[in-house]
Symmetry: C2
Subunit: 135 residues, 2 copies
């Protein structure tokens, strides 16, 4: 157990089973509709910041840095609840998605494709042109 964490009341962070890379998968779910909007990864700092600010902060594995969701797009995620699974290796964020768009493609959810007749078929429209979101 990390003594610094204990002092700061962060024992709950120690209970998470981080991967060997120090990450945990985080599923963002619309708190009202139950729709799953995205899955991303968090490191310890991201999860701590998410809890402290009640706003989703992920860790970008490609950019190797903290990724405050909505930083560029304004599509921030207000966090209402953080849940942990039985194995302590996955978290859910129950969120309110500001702007109604979680996906960088301009859709509500990143899960916009379904397997139909042996093909991934797009099931929902782009709500806003990404060029308009990330200008």
């Amino acid at each position: 157990m990390n003594t610094e964490a204990q002092k700061a009341g962060l024992d709950w962070l120690e209970e998470v089973k981080w991967t060997s890379d120090g990450l945990v998968p985080a599923i963002a779910q619309d708190a009202e509709t139950g729709r799953i909007l995205m899955m991303a990864w968090m490191n310890r700092e991201a999860l701590q910041l998410t809890a402290e600010t009640q706003t989703a902060v992920y860790y970008s594995r490609s950019r190797k840095k903290l990724w405050p969701k909505g930083e560029s797009s304004g599509h921030v995620q207000k966090v209402q609840d953080i849940q942990l699974d039985c194995d302590a290796d996955v978290v859910i964020l129950k969120i309110e998605q500001i702007g109604g768009i979680a996906c960088h493609t301009g859709r509500e959810s990143c899960f916009y494709r379904s397997l139909v007749d042996g093909q991934w078929q797009t099931q929902e429209p782009v709500l806003k042109d990404p060029a308009e979101i990330y200008k």
Copy 2:
């Protein structure tokens, strides 16, 4: 592109971005209520079998083998839809949870703890004693 896969009409499996270990995270969501029940991992064979049988088959990273969900417990998951995210590296299974219990602790969902006042607090009851489930 894998020619064998093309012949068998399995191009959709090639579109998934597998981890370096050949896995993809799979989120099981109750198709009716929207509740997230669990997250586990699948290898290529598990995802193919899940699609073919419309019943969830995961890959157990600890046991290093296919894990047909409900094999011991009878709590199988009937799959109604398989969704893929924008990065093609996470899938959702929309399922009907037979027996109403997804978690090995005997709860409906593996996500039964919420972060409240700096602690992971259990929010829901055990529906069935695991000793009764796995006897």
